[in-house]
């Protein structure tokens, strides 16, 4: 398979040579990652007492991060699946990023569950003694199924690019990379039969990946929804979580588009049009997300169930600033920035996306923590530190390590494969010529 030389050079900037900036960034991130590893060793050595989690608040930063990363993953799957299935014209430069967000987040997310488990040595019980009745078992099955599905989907989208890289003779890469491209391309030559097989498989998997993303994130939401806790026992948690996930994932997609565009000078491929289109998507989802949030809290507030009322009072007092940021600023500001054409510049859209992603993380925090700080059974004469959750440096370090490894994996993948699909962009080129 042959490719446009310019396209190939532009879309694989780190494939042949590694820039100094790449090394510096990688080392800095590695530093964050190692601090996280040190924190983890401390936690394993001294136990969970080194975290802010206690008898009441048994879920802290780790679960917040788990939900957040899983949300990013499912949203990546949903976005890429929808864009591919409906053959959206402008999808080509962004679809690979969405696919990568899916897989990388899905690999990182479950690690936060491992950090949260007190007896990791009993982890295999989940597989040897599963109880289908338990939502935790549903989650294990769902995540495993999703992980494999996403890997297959990502691989299908890479085959054509691997074939292009295999056949590109001027490519100056290590022999092991050439062997890798040869093996992973499965001898794909773009014959009509192969094209048809690949296209059908991708279509099937893209539709499947949409369904899985919705089901799997709903399962995660049901872990909360089926629990009789103030604020969690809600019938709309499934769709609410799915919408929230897509909101954060779309935001992250914009941020990554901006980063890769800036670093690898992809201005020609990722244009303002792409930012505006994904930005409009973000605004629409923000509206849905705001609607779900309002609906959830309104029904709880109007219901006036004692514990729900206590929780809402707490959200509007102790967690006032976080609540306002997550549910007002995080929804309205991105919406306003993108909805008004005069504000619709690439930096503004990126800022809106950063606000959206941060707000979503805070939203997860105020879903998990205040509820656990509001138990049904009153607790008297207990140290405030046992009821009130405050994250320790170990939890912070592992959170930053998670973010660091997310970026590092993106960087490592950019050393092996194109971060924008060459084959898709070639098709776009052909379409442009035909026009």
């Amino acid at each position: 398979m042959q490719a446009n030389r310019k396209l190939l050079k532009d879309l694989t900037p780190e494939l042949e040579k590694t820039s100094t900036g790449w090394y510096i960034t990688f080392i800095v991130l590695l530093g964050f990652f190692l601090i996280g590893i040190y924190g983890l060793i401390q936690q394993i050595d001294k136990g969970h007492i080194v975290t802010g989690m206690r008898d009441n608040v048994v879920w802290g930063f780790y679960i917040v991060n788990f939900i957040f990363f899983m949300g990013l993953s499912y949203s990546g799957a949903l976005i890429s699946g929808v864009l591919h299935l409906f053959n959206t014209g402008w999808r080509k430069p962004v679809i690979r990023l969405a696919e990568l967000i899916t897989v990388i987040s899905l690999v990182i997310g479950p690690f936060f569950i491992f950090f949260c488990i007190g007896r990791l040595d009993r982890l295999y019980f989940l597989f040897t003694h599963p109880r289908i009745q338990s939502p935790i078992t549903w989650d294990v099955i769902a995540i495993c199924t999703d992980l494999i599905g996403c890997f297959i989907y990502l691989y299908l989208s890479f085959i054509e690019d691997f074939a292009i890289l295999r056949d590109y003779e001027d490519l100056r890469v290590a022999p092991w990379k050439r062997r890798l491209y040869k093996t992973l391309s499965l001898g794909y030559n773009g014959t009509p039969k192969q094209e048809k097989l690949l296209s059908t498989a991708r279509k099937v998997m893209s539709s499947m990946i949409i369904a899985i993303a919705i089901i799997v994130y709903s399962v995660l939401a049901w872990i909360f929804g089926v629990t009789l806790q103030p604020g969690w026992h809600s019938t709309i948690f499934g769709p609410y979580f799915v919408i929230a996930a897509v909101f954060s994932g779309t935001g992250l997609l914009i941020i990554l588009m901006w980063i890769f565009r800036k670093i690898y000078h992809l201005e020609e491929y990722i244009t303002k049009r792409h930012f505006v289109n994904v930005g409009v998507l973000l605004t629409i989802i923000a509206a849905f997300y705001g609607y779900f949030t309002f609906s959830d809290y309104l029904t709880k507030w109007y219901g006036s169930i004692k514990m729900d009322s206590i929780l809402i009072d707490k959200l509007f007092s102790e967690y006032y600033s976080l609540f306002i940021f997550a549910n007002y600023i995080g929804i309205l500001i991105p919406g306003i920035i993108i909805a008004l054409p005069r504000f619709r510049t690439i930096p503004n859209i990126t800022i809106a996306a950063v606000i959206a992603v941060l707000a979503l993380w805070v939203n997860r925090y105020i879903i998990v923590i205040p509820t656990l700080e509001t138990p049904f059974l009153p607790i008297q004469d207990v140290r405030s530190a046992w009821i009130k959750y405050t994250p320790t440096w170990i939890e912070w370090s592992l959170t930053f390590a998670g973010v660091a490894i997310f970026i590092m994996l993106f960087m490592l993948i950019s050393k092996i494969a194109p971060i924008i699909s060459i084959s898709e962009m070639q098709e776009e080129d052909k379409e442009e010529i035909l026009k």
């Binding site: 009745q133 599905g149 299908l156 030559n189 498989a201 099937v204 998997m205 369904a211």
Partner: protein, 294 residues
């Protein structure tokens, strides 16, 4: 000159950084609270209990692992022994038989406890005067009425004298705490009669434990009597209907069927994708063979 100034600033910085912990060491001395209590249980076993705590930010915290010393004696202090406080800050000391405990002229036992303190905790002491009391409880049915008869005698001038005008509490233990059943004031004969309610749930056989108590009495301390009797309403504790939980060994059929359909559906599509990949590979091998033949 510049280098001297920078050396001076560096020295000041280093000194302030390294001396900060020394100056900032918090040498606050804890002023603990101590309380001494006397207990006599249903088997006439006596013991002293000392609680050592301190208050910080209006919250009371226990002081555990502290050595508490116990004394007795009316004229001089005779060492009884020592005990360490547990995690609740409580140290318990079992008293020897009452015959060996010296009484004062009024027939009172004097007990003392102290914590000698250390570098960070101040010394504290407490004392207590106790008069021995014999509390009796007889449970009988009088004309079909379940009646509790309480009598109390105190020791005065080596004689047993009825305790009059004092209140004895009657309890039945429940799951989390003691259920107060009655407050019984003792008459001039040191006796009280209480009609026991007939609707208190007991175990499967109707057994309940009836407890009568002098509670933190200034003269008698904590003295109790316990009797187990079939005066309760028989109550078989069946598991509550598990309508909120799925505790059955096997999941419900609808769940198995739904999950199976979902998993078969999803994994079937995965299989289709994998088969497509295999066919792509085979197609390339076929092409290769064709090329070789040509």
């Amino acid at each position: 000159m510049k280098s001297n100034i920078s050396k001076l600033f560096t020295s000041i910085l280093l000194i302030s950084v390294f001396s900060a912990p020394v100056f900032s060491q918090d040498r606050t001395i804890i002023s603990p609270y101590i309380s001494l209590q006397y207990f006599k249980n249903s088997e006439d076993h006596r013991y002293l209990q000392t609680t050592l705590t301190y208050v910080s930010n209006r919250i009371e915290f226990p002081l555990s692992g502290m050595e508490i010393t116990f004394y007795t004696g009316s004229e001089g202090k005779d060492l009884l022994g020592t005990a360490l406080t547990n995690e609740q800050g409580i140290a318990t000391f079992d008293l020897p038989e009452n015959s060996s405990l010296p009484k004062d002229n009024d027939g009172l036992w004097a007990f003392y406890t102290d914590f000698t303190g250390n570098d960070t905790i101040e010394t504290v002491k407490a004392d207590l005067l106790i008069r021995d009391v014999k509390l009796e409880m007889i449970l009988s049915v009088v004309d079909t009425v379940k009646t509790v008869t309480l009598s109390a005698l105190k020791s005065e001038n080596n004689k047993d004298v009825p305790v009059s005008g004092e209140v004895v509490m009657l309890y039945v233990p429940r799951m989390f705490s003691l259920l107060p059943v009655a407050e019984a004031p003792l008459d001039d004969n040191g006796t009280a009669y209480i009609e026991f309610p007939s609707d208190i749930p007991g175990d499967a056989e109707g057994n309940i434990t009836v407890i009568s108590k002098f509670e933190e009495h200034p003269d008698f301390g904590n003295v109790e009597r316990r009797v187990v009797i079939k005066w309760g309403v028989s109550f078989v504790n069946t598991s509550p209907a598990a309508h909120r939980a799925l505790w059955t060994k096997t999941p419900p059929w609808w769940m198995i069927i739904t999950l199976s359909i979902l998993l078969i559906g999803v994994w079937g599509h995965y299989l289709f994708a994998v088969i497509s990949l295999i066919r792509i590979k085979r197609e390339s091998e076929k092409q290769k063979k064709l090329k070789i033949r040509q």
